[in-house]
Symmetry: D3
Amino acid sequence: MSELSHLDSAGRARMVDVGDKPITRRAAEAVGQLLCAPETLALVKAGEAPKGNVIATAELAGVMAAKQTAALIPLCHPLPLSQVVVEITPDDGLPGFLVHARVRTTGQTGVEMEALTGVSIACLTLFDMLKAVDKGMEIGAIKVTAKSGGRSGSWQA
Amino acid sequence: MSELSHLDSAGRARMVDVGDKPITRRAAEAVGQLLCAPETLALVKAGEAPKGNVIATAELAGVMAAKQTAALIPLCHPLPLSQVVVEITPDDGLPGFLVHARVRTTGQTGVEMEALTGVSIACLTLFDMLKAVDKGMEIGAIKVTAKSGGRSGSWQA
Amino acid sequence: MSELSHLDSAGRARMVDVGDKPITRRAAEAVGQLLCAPETLALVKAGEAPKGNVIATAELAGVMAAKQTAALIPLCHPLPLSQVVVEITPDDGLPGFLVHARVRTTGQTGVEMEALTGVSIACLTLFDMLKAVDKGMEIGAIKVTAKSGGRSGSWQA
Amino acid sequence: MSELSHLDSAGRARMVDVGDKPITRRAAEAVGQLLCAPETLALVKAGEAPKGNVIATAELAGVMAAKQTAALIPLCHPLPLSQVVVEITPDDGLPGFLVHARVRTTGQTGVEMEALTGVSIACLTLFDMLKAVDKGMEIGAIKVTAKSGGRSGSWQA
Amino acid sequence: MSELSHLDSAGRARMVDVGDKPITRRAAEAVGQLLCAPETLALVKAGEAPKGNVIATAELAGVMAAKQTAALIPLCHPLPLSQVVVEITPDDGLPGFLVHARVRTTGQTGVEMEALTGVSIACLTLFDMLKAVDKGMEIGAIKVTAKSGGRSGSWQA
Amino acid sequence: MSELSHLDSAGRARMVDVGDKPITRRAAEAVGQLLCAPETLALVKAGEAPKGNVIATAELAGVMAAKQTAALIPLCHPLPLSQVVVEITPDDGLPGFLVHARVRTTGQTGVEMEALTGVSIACLTLFDMLKAVDKGMEIGAIKVTAKSGGRSGSWQA
């Protein structure tokens, strides 16, 4: 018998039954980053004025992907989301881009996966738009930074 | 005017026109990893016998997500794929899981994004199945490792 | 700072947080039309007997699309729908087709966008099925005609 | 006027309005089977040790498809699901595979279609993975075996 | 090492590489049936005049689902389809409905799964529209009846 | 027998068989508009500086929707697209927004529906982002303006 919630006693992958969990307001935040060459970052920052579409495109892709989480992650529960925000900040120190997502719902299960999915697809979209000028980029440091609501209460990384 | 292929002269995000590119056989490989606590890794490795469903589930999620790349990444071109393979290996050294994806097509544009999307969603699926026992996991080191076909020829990281 | 609900103070597109809104029964209705040549309309009306599949196909496409609204409109909230009806009426006066959609839910946000999406895709489906005989068709007059439920109460165009 | 719930008085297909139905816990179970040659079954059972990926793949496909039911079945209501389980058992007596699905929700309408869709896509996935060695397979005996919750109470086949 | 094409030498599920296969015109046909009570069949046949929307709705759902095959069946290749036809015939002898699908493409792999998926979802849609009047229906006899194109040539059940 | 290409001789909706059509480069352009109050237009134009996210969001939604055309329009053929561009221009004369889409492919069938779908969803996205300040907006004048490639040659509205 497994101690892993997503495997049953026969080792079979399953969606956990959340039907008995209380319906509460829940939130989760996640972060990630795209590392790139300083020249690539400079190009985007130059391109930001006046239109900013690299970052805006990636933020939007992250928001839309968060809504598709249950279709992408096999054992995730489909649930309505009351808010999704994805914010991308260029960072000279990396150099690269910091990506932050915040997701809220009122439901029976948490939304960490939705926040992580938003971050991941935003990073992939940045990568897609910049890959013609920078082959060596890397996506990383994707993790949950805060979570609230549900039986386990609030949690902060 | 931008030097970025995905912005037009007005800074507007656009799908690059690949209509004039030759139809060639193309391949791409990408990698990534999920870092977790040694206890989490041990649980999965124990659970692997006899069924292996954590890893099998995440590999399959990666394959299926690679096929949805053009729906997830706003400026990606929809294209038929002739092969998608996602392989996950537990690694005591990390500790965690190494994820590798290989994608092939015959078409007018490369498949790096499909390989990266397969890796990313496989990592997220591992995260989802293990998050109940390990809150501090981190996804990272996602990058393209090889690419072949198309005007720019072969490339290896 | 913007007065537009879908932009944050930095001008970034966002999903509005509806988490504090009351859960109420909500409904919305929308209309639209496809203008075509009188001969095109006559062909459909003749084809209606005995099977009616042009109109039935477009109505069904509208219903199915209404359920995909949150996947299509970037900042729309995913929400369960309790009813979707799309009705198409041939109209000799236009000449063309009148399309009407009615959507109901019990939730935290309105369903105008679902009704409008149902109307739009129904119009596009009519266009698709008739474009081989009529190149000059036009879709128009798509608007919300009624809305009820939620903080702002009922509204009629 | 039709006695069929999914046709209105004009014979038009429609989503039934479930807005007045009580929100209750609901469950449904469905079964089905894939009939194949005894040699095909033997190959899978041999392949099961040590990895079992034919069955695991089909079970997972069933779970994921159940979550897409409202996108596939035109007049189905989109609704959150609290649990989906798909279990496949090789059966020498058929010979073939027995597929069983159980779906739970808390909502205004039943989940028979979600259970049936999970069974159907699991059967199709088995078929896909085995068709290179067995052209004559057949999918059948797909039906609802149990249902609970809602106005009509519990029901068992 | 497995003799199953969809498992690699380690037993891992994989998409078969079709990149070396010739691009040929391919077709596949599949059938299936929904068994119901004679009264249910009579209701549909009565309802058919004048609108026929139960059958038209299910046929259309089958066509649309065939186009989603690669998203539903994990190891199926995404490929453009040049034709999809789904035809449903009421049959007093069963009693019930016969469902037939025919799919065509020009590509590197066959379209049996597309035909089978079209049949399956058409059957499920009939079930959905009739389940309020008939709880004991059963879907069955789903199989491939003909296949042409590709290395293995034509085949007929 | 119907003269409509999308109905067979029995009046049944069908996907036209394009398997015999030549593979050629094809393009289509479509336009549409959103009419709004002058104050609404002014708000967007003010908000455009410096970020422009209302228009960028709607353009991107149009591009992404064009790629989903075959999933939305029941009898459309799925096909790879080599380019999609959606451009939105504020227009004081309307007052409102002009939407223009251009789609290219190399395939067996035209891409008018993809261009029209891009325009329609871009209009709906503008509507969604502005509906909180303007209830009386109207979407209209959606039509094909140019088409090239294929048996019927070039065409301009």
